[in-house]
């Protein structure tokens, strides 16, 4: 009995690697510590009623952001491990197998469990405030999206301590990801972790499209809407068209592995190239999905800190929509070398180059917005300014890659690695940092320490260039991606050392940010104005920070672009807004179903990972029961009475 148990445990848990053992111990200690702290301070009920069951978009947004920062930590540690391994030729810091796992999880985590939730966090907190809504269109579904993401991410992250991580690359190309080549459970974790969180992302896409189209404040026509909300709309349009493809593709791969189907296998009439086409039909729009909201953030930040209206509003809207549509016609540029033929390659090369045009339009819009503006160099603005040259260079190397014949040389080299890190870090990460710093006071009611933020900014930026510029050269020197060792005589060592130093500089930058957040929590100055930068232009800055649960006591008629800016000018001239009488506010009730149902999905996914139907089937039954219970619920909302609104507003405004 004991021996059986030992044998089971040795296969179930990942053993034998001191790094992973360290992680296992620290995870166990952290979990015990969390339980002790929650119990000691009697916070379990608070956690459950205030957070786990909440349907408030602001709290859900905060949970997304916390989760994504934790994932940034994990993905970043993966990156540093890889860079350490590559710093010296023939180093044996990471075994080949472990290295494969780490580059796989680094990619998946950074895109799907860091960038996506950080993006959804900002969607959640800002969009309803910016368009003058009391919540998103479907608050219950919104909570469901979050918990599906959360449990999907947990399932994926578990793989490195239980069962073994996936190691077939971040997009898991078959036949490598098939049972024939990856017989372990790692790929199953990959499939189910992404599948579960992907359903949540799809639901978020639907939710925000409806929120933006149907719940804007009176008078706010689409062409008066703040630019961030436009970017969210264009991103969500891409989500609803791209994510169903991901769902199907992963499901087909699951059927191959679970039921022995022949979709992407080498034998039995399967076609691995079909998978690569399908996954990129999702995967290419996906990179635009994450970068479009960053463009929206830059538009807000640049206009606010230049104290000017955004230059070229209509062209910006046009550019965003053009990008979200054109994103669906470029997928084959990820595999020019597959042999689709010259005509197919030419088509996709041209569409790829065309995307550079609307992007260029946007860059000029931002530059002209700053032109002759009174620029304030606050941290959000610094990120926005640093983004422009970085993204332009990244975009231009992208155009180099889009030239199909030349791509035969660049393909799968470090040139490509440097390119996409430059657009994803320089575009997405810089953008979300700008947004996080800009809207932080709106979320929590205090600003982050600017001094420490500037240290973090410079470490990130210098680290970025030191890390990735050498990689372009390494790519041209022939270094291919996903290798874990190289010979002394390749001549790659000096540049690799430089690159590794850059990676650690970015690691230090992250530590500065952690310090910055901790420092600001302890020593912050409470913001009492609601418009904490003093330069807010849009609706979210017209209400107290953090916003009350119902957001707007009365919803203003926002019938001009930059409504709050205009309103402030009117108030300076002594024109007071017309008082609108308070009315009871209709709000959704909290619900435990999203949490429980997502946990059931997690259970089902866990069962499928190990082929344990006795766990998977009860999990699926749990999902079905949750759906039926919800269907029979009719008492799902309540009203906040006028007295209570008055009390809340007095308390919030009284601090003025």
């Amino acid at each position: 009995m004991l021996d059986n148990l030992k044998e089971f445990a040795s296969e179930f848990f990942v053993t034998g690697d001191p790094l992973i053992l360290g992680a296992q111990v620290s995870i166990a200690l952290t979990m015990i510590a969390i339980v002790i702290v929650l119990t000691y301070f009697k916070k379990w009920r608070w956690l459950w009623t205030e957070w786990l069951t909440t349907v408030d978009h602001k709290k859900i947004g905060i949970m997304y952001i916390i989760a994504s920062l934790l994932m940034l930590f994990r993905g970043g540690v993966d990156a540093l491990l890889m860079r350490t391994q590559l710093a010296m030729p023939e180093l044996n810091f990471l075994e080949a197998e472990h290295y494969n796992q780490i580059f796989t999880t680094h990619g998946v985590i950074m895109i799907l469990f860091m960038a996506m939730p950080l993006m959804f966090g900002l969607f959640n907190i800002i969009v309803p405030l910016q368009i003058g809504a009391r919540d998103v269109a479907y608050p219950f579904l919104n909570s469901m999206s979050f918990w599906l993401f959360f449990w999907g991410a947990m399932l994926f992250n578990m793989s490195f301590v239980i069962g073994g991580s996936p190691d077939a690359g971040w997009l898991a190309y078959p036949p490598l990801s098939e049972l024939s080549h990856s017989p372990g459970v790692g790929q199953n974790f990959y499939i189910w972790g992404i599948q579960i969180s992907g359903i949540g992302s799809l639901a978020t896409g639907i939710n925000f499209i409806v929120t933006i189209l149907k719940m804007r404040a009176p008078g706010m026509r689409l062409m008066k809407m703040p630019m961030f909300s436009w970017s969210v709309l264009s991103s969500c349009i891409s989500i609803i068209f791209a994510f169903p493809i991901l769902t199907v593709t992963l499901f087909l791969l699951f059927l191959d592995r679970f039921l022995g189907a022949h979709f992407f296998t080498l034998d039995g009439g399967g076609n691995p190239m079909m998978y690569i086409n399908l996954i990129w039909m999702w995967g290419h729009p996906e990179v635009y999905i994450v970068v479009l909201p960053a463009f929206g953030i830059f538009s807000e930040v640049v206009a606010a800190f230049s104290r000017k209206k955004l230059f070229g509003y209509a062209s910006m809207v046009f550019a965003m929509i053009a990008i979200s549509v054109a994103a669906f016609f470029t997928w084959a540029h990820h595999f020019f070398t597959m042999g689709s033929g010259a005509n197919v390659n030419a088509f996709f090369a041209v569409t790829t180059m065309i995307i550079a045009i609307p992007t260029g339009v946007k860059v000029f819009n931002w530059l002209f917005t700053m032109f002759r503006g009174k620029i304030q160099f606050t941290t959000p603005m610094m990120w926005a300014i640093a983004f422009i040259p970085c993204f332009v260079v990244g975009g231009m190397t992208g155009v180099l890659l889009s030239v199909a014949p030349a791509d035969f040389q660049f393909h799968n080299s470090y040139f490509l690695i440097a390119h996409f890190h430059q657009v994803l870090i320089g575009g997405v990460v810089f953008g979300y940092f700008a947004g996080l710093y800009y809207w932080w006071p709106k979320m929590f009611g205090f600003k982050l320490n600017e001094h420490l933020g500037k240290w973090a900014f410079w470490f990130w930026n210098i680290g970025f260039y030191v890390c990735f510029m050498p990689q372009y050269l390494l790519g041209l020197m022939g270094m291919t991606r996903r290798i874990n060792v190289y010979d002394f005589d390749m001549g790659w060592q000096p540049l690799n050392v430089v690159s590794t130093i850059g990676a650690f500089l970015m690691g230090i930058a992250f530590l500065f940010q952690v310090w910055q957040i901790a420092h600001s929590i302890k020593f912050h100055k409470k913001d009492t104005t609601g418009d904490s930068w003093g330069v807010g232009r849009t609706l979210e800055w017209s209400i107290p920070s953090p916003a009350p649960v119902y957001n707007f006591a009365t919803i203003p008629v926002a019938d001009e672009r930059d409504w709050w800016w205009e309103e402030k000018e009117r108030r300076e001239q002594g024109i007071q807004p017309k008082a609108i009488p308070l009315e009871p506010i209709h709000m959704p009730k909290n619900s435990a179903i999203p949490f429980i149902k997502s946990l059931c999905w997690f259970t089902a996914g866990f069962g499928f990972v190990f082929n344990w139907l006795w766990i998977a089937i009860p999990g699926l039954i749990g999902v079905a029961i949750c759906m039926l219970v919800r269907s029979f619920q009719y008492d799902t909302d309540y009203y906040i009475q006028v007295d209570e609104i008055k009390r809340t507003e007095a308390a919030l405004r009284g601090a003025n």
Binding site: T247, V248, G260, D267, G269, Y634
Partner: protein, 200 residues
Amino acid sequence: MAHAASHHDHDHGHHDQEELKTFGFWIFLMTDCILFATLFATFVVLRLNTSGGPTAEELFSMPGIIAETFILLTSSFTSGLAVLSMQKGDKKGLIGWLIVTLALGIAFVTMEITEFVHMVHEGATISTSGFLSSFFTLVGAHGLHVSIGIVWMIALVLQLARRGITSVTKRKVTIISLYWHFLDVVWIFVFTVVYLMGVM
């Protein structure tokens, strides 16, 4: 401006909420459309990869399929009749037609499962060839949608019996009938692309 008018009352009353949910369901159907489009594309790519196993012509027996098709088309019609009864405020008619729709839906799923079981007994399983993998997945995905619709409709009939026709139940019936018609349209494509193109 109709839009501003619809927001005139500041709290979103129940009526507004129901409209919002119907609109969102249309968008969900668009995503479901993409889901089926992906499955169709996969089927079209793999349909000739029989890998020495049975071909479409050898497997499909059209009379049963045509019967299934008519059953599903009729169920779409009866679900339409259910909505018409609802508009007239006729609760009995509504529940009655929903039950007829349910019966036809169950008949459809039963016939499909019988067809699948028959094929498996002939040795044509999901792991036989790329063609059969994509066949079972595409047709099965449609069948799974119909099955979910059946469970959902039963739940709805119970709610209607208990609560009658209210703005909430009205929206629920509207949504499920949208879903049901959508599955009908998908089936027409399945019938054409999978079965007719298979045997012709």
